[in-house]
Symmetry: C4
Subunit: 209 residues, 4 copies
């Protein structure tokens, strides 16, 4: 039956490296969905400003997704800092989580080109929720008995998990809102810090139900 | 004649790094073949859902190829964990193997836009088979006398090679099926775990014919 | 409240790695905005040369932005060489700075397709100025008390900060010029070395106002 | 005047990393210039094979450039294995060299869509020659007094430089041929191994004129 890859630090590093590369590529690829407007030569400045103004929803979607991927990267970063050894258990979950990140350019472009429409907003928020739940699953394995480094304080683990939970609750809120008032769907992701504060008040050890 | 690069760990690391980067880019680039549907402003929700429904074959192709590249990456990962030193012999084979990975966005898009058609399925499965055979070749060098680390158990090597063989047999099955019943071609890649179990029953040391 | 990620070298390395990956992807993605001209089969050589000649503004924009991103990478590189430990304070500023780098393919294409027009030049120079200011902010944190390595000479810190300031002054000059004489906007970035010399004459310790 | 970045191993690693990332992205981005043919639903198999047949020049160009970038990466790899410390002198030359690599997707697509035409072949070979000359320059710095590791044999340096020279001579041959018989331009790059053998016979120490 033989375990294949030994539980070495090297395997952990390579997993982290691969994940970082996918995050970095996904975040940088977002820009290719921003299509440069074609403006006839000699047009007045106002024509250029108008063309840019029409791209504002695309810019907002771009910036928003840039920080969403960045925030997920930072959370991944934070969780893996606590890991001391590799476990094959994290591989598949991490891959499915990365799929949601790599998928962001598509849902971002779909939303940006249809700002205010219900379906693209619902799809965007649903992918966010899936990412948040998968992120929680990965964080749970990384900070679990198979991977956690020996010298990590319990409160550092709790902090990582609480942040993960707050993102999932914020995404769930945004998904619910996007069904009813699409235009407020994305904005509702701003409830994440509120959820974080609420969870921070939960008694110790309860956060990981 | 002079050997050029010394057989140092550093050369091994840089090869692994380069390979990981190609895997990560290929897996993340898959998304650019998913074209965002253009839907007129003010269209009902049903128009959006229909547009997404028409993209379902593209989504399936996307997810499928994402996990194919991910699985090849994991196998590459597993094999190189067993290597202890660099050998120039692996360089060319690894490069040709990476070519099949980098080529995946093309064959995926070709298949997704022509789901059920014979030729795209055959091409997809043929590239898979080529990838699987090249993967076996790379694994054989990495776990061979030139590169294997000193302290690796024989059964770990056998495990890696058996997995490599099962992927090749699954891809060969899929290629054969795709000629006869195209729509079942991709599905036949699901025979990989069956092949793995079958090979696991083979007597020790026979797997590497 | 617990700090989450410990201030380890590993966290610093991962941040540098992620940043490098974004720089590398942004710089390499620039090429996809260069559209290959379609020339009818059997056309004379002159038709090809003319098609290339029409692309000259795109080539100039491409090369220019390649070296802009390269220069910002080198500056980032130089600053982080002085860091000895990680601080969470740098994370958000670094992410916003990376956003300006990832955004370069868009502003480059917008400028290249409208060479000499005021708005695209202003937008390009404004993004450059934003990048330069964010770069200064990141450099200040990296060479500040939270992150600076123990054995770094004061003059190395001063050198990094002066370079950062000269880029910002050059970008501000270019932005001002591009409002008045658009076609000279980009060229005015060539004042960066002049600003650098001017700043080098400033009395020690004054550069970081 | 202060040197800024110290001549540490870390700076060398980061430069190698950045270069590897650009190589990996350029090599993987080649695929986006392969456009998937649109074939009407229900078309016979022959229509698919014909569509693929029409893409053969694109496939050849793709494979060729894949191995060109791979070969330059391997040469870069080989040279930097000999370096023991960082020198700021290599930075700019390495960046200009990387520019030629990042530019490959454009010249490849230009050549593939115009197989046999003089101008695209000349442009392709000229970029190859520029890459080869810049590669030689970078190798010379890396294996020169500022960067060479202490324990490197003189013949390893000679080997790296001879390979670099043979690539430049092959590219120069291809460029000359492509002016006269365009269709044989790319094929003439196959003279590289011939040049390598010829140079190998040169008396020791003469290769670096």
């Amino acid at each position: 039956m033989a375990g294949g890859a030994g539980g070495t630090d090297h395997a952990l590093e390579r997993l982290v490296f691969f994940s970082d590369a996918v995050f970095a590529i996904a975040i940088t690829l977002l820009v290719i969905e921003l299509h440069v407007p074609h403006i006839p030569r000699g047009a007045p400045d106002s024509a250029y400003w108008q063309a840019l103004a029409q791209l504002v929803p695309s810019f907002i979607g771009y910036f928003f997704s840039f920080f969403v991927i960045g925030a997920f990267w930072a959370g991944h970063h934070r969780a893996f800092t606590l890991a001391g050894r590799y476990s094959a258990k994290v591989l598949s979950w991490n891959m499915v989580f990365l799929l949601t990140m790599a998928f962001m350019p598509f849902v971002t472009a779909f939303l940006s080109q249809n700002i205010g429409a219900r379906v693209p907003t619902v799809v965007y928020c649903a992918v966010m929720l899936a990412a948040a739940l998968l992120n929680m699953r990965v964080q749970r394995i990384v900070t679990g008995p198979d991977m956690l480094a020996a010298d990590v304080a319990h409160e550092d683990v709790a902090y990582v998990r609480k942040r993960g939970l707050s993102v999932a609750l914020g995404a769930a809120t945004a998904l619910a809102v996007s069904f009813v008032v699409p235009v407020l769907g994305q904005v509702s992701l701003a409830t994440i810090p509120l959820w974080r504060r609420l969870i921070a008040r939960m008694p110790k050890g309860e956060e990981g139900a």
